[in-house]
């Protein structure tokens, strides 16, 4: 393998990272090669010292996605960060994927309940009109009450979801630094 192949492999491994950042990374490694050769090393020696381009790319991707999800914690970034982390090592499969899926399942379940509650008046409206009318105002008041409770719970669930999302980000960062050895300092 020569320098061009190494950088090519690195570039390919960095797909998913914005061009600006990727080009900056390649520039850094390009500089590393040039300075090394200036000092008398061969391309082969430098490559041997650097190790696997694929592995380096995985680590860089994980770092990038984790930072992205910290800045903008939406579901897409969360998933990208999780996948990048998982690809780093099998260790993370158990500790990241498992809890993440469990949490998402739980959230989906809760949101389903909330949505069903908010839709209560619709169910009442869909019932047989005569049967509903015979019970007087009760079904309507009942379903409006459930709807109101659903909205209230929805608001609570919304904040809970946000808070849990932040928790997951923290958890993944913790995982990443465990894998890389050495705890990160939360100086923010």
């Amino acid at each position: 393998m020569n320098k061009q192949q190494f950088l090519q492999e690195l570039t390919e491994g960095l797909k998913g990272i914005p061009d600006v950042e990727r080009l900056d990374i390649i520039r850094d490694y390009e500089e590393y090669f040039l300075v090394g050769m200036e000092k008398g090393k061969t391309e082969a020696q430098i490559i041997a010292g650097l190790g696997s381009a694929k592995q380096i790319a995985k680590e860089l991707r994980a770092t990038y996605h984790l930072e992205a999800v910290r800045e903008k914690p939406n579901v897409k970034n969360l998933f990208r960060a999780a996948i990048a982390l998982i690809s780093l090592t099998v260790f993370n499969l158990i500790f990241v994927l498992g809890p993440l899926l469990g949490l998402i399942g739980l959230l989906i379940g809760c949101w389903s309940v909330v949505l069903a509650m908010v839709a209560a008046p619709i169910w009442t409206g869909l019932q047989d009109a005569d049967a509903v009318h015979a019970m007087g105002a009760f079904p309507w008041f009942g379903s409006i009450a459930i709807c109101g409770a659903g909205i209230l719970l929805g608001v609570i669930l919304y904040y809970l979801s946000k808070w849990l999302g932040k928790g997951v980000v923290w958890y993944m960062q913790f995982n990443l630094s465990m894998v890389k050895g050495g705890l990160k300092h939360e100086g923010h």
């Binding site: 500089e31 860089l60 770092t63 930072e67 894998v179």
Partner: protein
């Protein structure tokens, strides 16, 4: 030497090398690998991570002998973090030393 442990200490080493002098990537890798066996490829990802934490800034400088080099410069935040880590490390290695002496004594 255990890989995980090494990587944690590596952060501190990189920051320590930047304390009195700005350095470029290759230089950092060389100095560290003079003293310990590391995968040279791990240093740049580490540098990027430390940079996103704003522990240092970087700038390009023209070089007479070759390509422009990116120099890394410790920030105030990085300096504070370094101090913290050195204090922890000193405490830790001192404790290890004492335990080792204790272990020797029981023989």
């Amino acid at each position: 030497m255990n890989v995980q442990f090494k990587k944690g200490v590596l952060e501190m080493c990189v920051l320590a090398l930047l304390k009195h002098k700005d350095r470029y990537g290759y230089e950092l890798v060389q100095i560290i690998s003079d003293y310990m066996a590391i995968g040279e490829g791990t240093v740049y990802p580490l540098l990027r991570r430390l940079a996103t934490e704003e522990y240092f800034t970087s700038y390009l400088q023209e070089s007479a002998e070759g390509p422009p080099r990116k120099y890394y410069k410790l920030s105030t935040k990085g300096s504070a973090y370094l101090e913290e880590m050195v204090a922890e490390w000193t405490q830790f290695s001192h404790a290890v030393q004492l335990i080792l002496m204790e272990g020797n004594r029981d023989e």
